[in-house]
């Protein structure tokens, strides 16, 4: 087993990985940019080394520097987390070359799945169905894409060839608006991934995004850990995930079939370690391979909750050469789990990112609740990285009870100083279609959720008015006292004493 692991990441995922390492008695090494000296991962790790300026390209993407640090501090393995270097075949190769274990798949598997065009060809050969589109046809010009588009049919999606997470993705309804959207997509892809290449894909309407978690060891064993439902997305960014999927529900045949197909797809690229096969599932339960994420997913905790398996520990054991201790028949899903991604975004201002000092953070606790986060009271949210500040995961017996628990947890959650999307989640959990499991990937865009839900305690506006008045009054009193200080006939000491008590 490894003695020391370097975590080439930041934020909640770095903290998450450190936790498993510590429980396995493995020393941890954090790396950080100038913007992250105060990151929780730096404080939790056994060792921490500086990488460079805040920009990812000068810090968390500096593979040479990270490898150098790993060698100097004697780390025998590197865990890349998600994002940054996680899906870079050259980084996986560079680790191998230096005799450091990469906790993830082989370079060839990353390359095969990372190039989405190769991925489609590969899984098609393994009899896995794919969504129609221009992947596999090379990097086409705008002219060529405009010509092919009507053959695929509208609506369709423009997607960047490099990377995921919804960045640079655009939905096209007709040929007229397409040229402008092509330009916008290339621009965003260029700035996010340094690669402006894009491709087209048919948009499956009524589609659900359901993914299968797989684990594969170095001894040829591949198993799946069931599905995650990830259809709740805004601008193609996942916001809430759950396991199992309410759409699959008790259709064990569909679950088994998708699981088997996912295992086939993984075997097709000789996959090793944890990975995720994403599918689009249409109304008739046809499923299409979307892509494979050759890394740990943000939403892995919902699978951990229902299967009882620590996926990060499994990743480490696999990378250390141990065979899987579990067989497919050992895997069962118990109860229901749900995750809300808490983002530093203001749902009342069209989800604009919110940065700044977190003056206070009170996280929910109690039965069945897990929080993965990298922030705390006094932490400053910087504009350099993504907006995810924490993940709230709850587990209960049924979906209904899970939702009740999640609502309770969201009510308890306080993040003061910056804005978060907690009110969005609260509104979502009141929505009738969400409650009955009747939603697809377009749901958030189409449903125009009323923030705060429909039913309102009638006294709330009055409470809000009173709060604003009391806040104003307090401020006025404050300034009045400082102006009148010399004129008062009472002792100034007494005044100061009163202010010490009442000021914030």
């Amino acid at each position: 087993m490894f003695k020391k692991i370097l975590i080439a990441n930041r934020g909640e995922i770095a903290v998450r990985i450190i936790r498993s390492c510590r429980e396995m008695n493995i020393l941890t090494v954090a790396v950080y940019s100038d913007a992250d000296r105060h990151g929780l991962h730096v404080r939790y790790a056994d060792e921490a080394y500086h990488l460079g300026p805040p920009k990812a390209s000068e810090s968390y993407l500096k593979s040479d520097k990270i490898l150098e640090i790993a060698q100097q501090c004697g780390a025998d393995a590197i865990h890349p987390g998600y994002g940054f270097l996680a899906e870079r075949a050259d980084f996986s190769q560079a680790c191998l070359d230096r005799g450091i274990s990469f906790i993830g798949p082989k370079p060839s598997s990353i390359a095969a799945m990372g190039d989405k065009q190769v991925a489609r060809e590969t899984v098609t050969k393994a009899n896995v169905p794919v969504v129609p589109g221009t992947e596999g046809q090379g990097d086409l010009s705008d002219e060529a894409l405009l010509k092919i588009a009507p053959e695929i049919g509208f609506p369709l999606l423009i997607k960047p060839s490099a990377g995921g997470g919804g960045k640079g993705m655009r939905e096209v309804l007709n040929i007229k608006e397409m040229p402008g959207l092509l330009t916008a997509s290339r621009r965003e892809a260029e700035s996010s991934f340094g690669d402006g290449n894009i491709y087209l894909e048919k948009l499956i309407q009524g589609a659900r995004h359901i993914e299968i978690q797989i684990l594969a060891d170095q001894h040829g064993n591949v198993i799946h850990l069931g599905e995650r439902e990830c259809s709740i997305q805004r601008r193609h960014q996942k916001l809430l995930e759950e396991a199992p999927s309410p759409f699959i529900g008790d259709d064990q045949d569909l679950r088994d079939k998708m699981g088997e197909v996912a295992v086939q797809a993984a075997r097709a690229v000789d996959y090793i370690n944890a990975g995720t096969i994403e599918f689009l599932v249409d109304n008739d339960k046809n499923y299409y391979f979307l892509e494979m994420n050759t890394r740990l997913q943000v939403e892995h905790p919902v699978t951990e909750a229902v299967t009882g398996i620590d996926i990060v520990k499994e990743q480490i054991r696999i990378a250390a050469g141990q065979p899987l201790s579990l067989k497919q028949e050992d895997i069962t899903m118990r109860g229901w789990a749900m995750e809300c991604r808490i983002n530093a975004e203001d749902p009342f201002r069209e989800f604009l990112p919110s940065t700044g000092l977190i003056t206070q953070s009170i996280i929910p606790a109690g039965p069945g609740i897990r929080i993965d986060t990298g922030v705390y009271s006094g932490y400053e949210v910087s504009p350099y990285y993504d907006a995810l500040i924490s993940k709230l995961i709850v587990h209960e017996e049924s979906r209904k009870e899970t939702i009740a628990r999640m609502k309770r947890a969201l009510d308890e959650y306080r993040v003061i100083g910056i804005r978060t999307n907690i009110p969005f989640h609260q509104a979502l959990l009141e929505n009738q279609d969400f409650l009955t499991g009747n939603f697809d990937t377009q749901f958030i865009q189409d449903s125009n959720l009323p923030l705060g839900g429909k039913q309102m305690d009638q006294s709330l506006p009055e409470i809000a008015a009173l709060t604003a008045v009391l806040a104003t009054h307090k401020r006025t009193q404050h300034s009045a006292i400082s102006i009148q200080r010399g004129k008062r006939d009472t002792s100034n000491w007494k005044l100061v004493g009163r202010w010490e008590r009442t000021k914030d």
Binding site: T359, I416, L451, A465, L470
Partner: protein, 168 residues
């Protein structure tokens, strides 16, 4: 003595709130027992209102208050008696505002300014695109108006609360 009668307006509805003491207020003629405790930076407070417990977050935004309460947002404009008298004399309604200054809501890179000085814009129209947290964010006009001034240009790195443009 400071003024103890205030007028708060939410969506056109007015609340006359009289503060008698730290524990007693009268709202539109009805008396209530209260206990108001603030925490750090006024953003979070605990309010007991006739025995019911509330935890509103308060933020000052564009001359008014933004109160977040039980997953809802309330925009409140507060005046004391004197301010109200002055405004009445000038014949304005409280929601009438002069200039609107668009401030950068977060640090970022100005990607695309879609208007020029003198343009008439509609509420909800995209004014400019600001890139931050790896996302391109559209900043929109909060109301109809005319672009009076533009202080940023494409490619500018702006700080939070830096003035981008002025609408009148």
């Amino acid at each position: 003595m400071t003024n103890e009668i205030y007028f708060a307006e939410i969506n056109g509805k007015e609340y006359r709130i009289e503060i008698f003491s730290e524990s007693r207020v009268v709202i539109n003629g009805t008396a209530h027992e209260i206990d108001y405790k603030t925490l750090k930076q006024h953003a979070s407070c605990s309010l007991l209102f006739d025995g019911r417990s509330f935890e509103p977050n308060t933020y000052q935004e564009n001359g008014g208050w933004e109160i977040l309460l039980q997953g809802r947002r309330f925009n409140v404009v507060v005046e004391d008696e004197r301010e109200r008298r002055l405004r009445m004399a000038a014949g304005q309604t409280s929601t009438q505002k002069g200039k609107y200054t668009l401030l950068a809501p977060m640090p970022g890179l100005v990607i695309d300014i879609q208007v020029k000085v003198g343009d008439e814009v509609k509420e909800g129209q995209v004014l400019l695109i600001l890139e931050s947290m790896k996302m391109q964010n559209e900043l929109k006009a909060p109301r109809d108006g005319k672009i009076a001034q533009i202080q940023a240009k494409d490619g500018d790195n702006v700080e939070r609360k830096e003035t981008l443009l002025v609408l009148e």
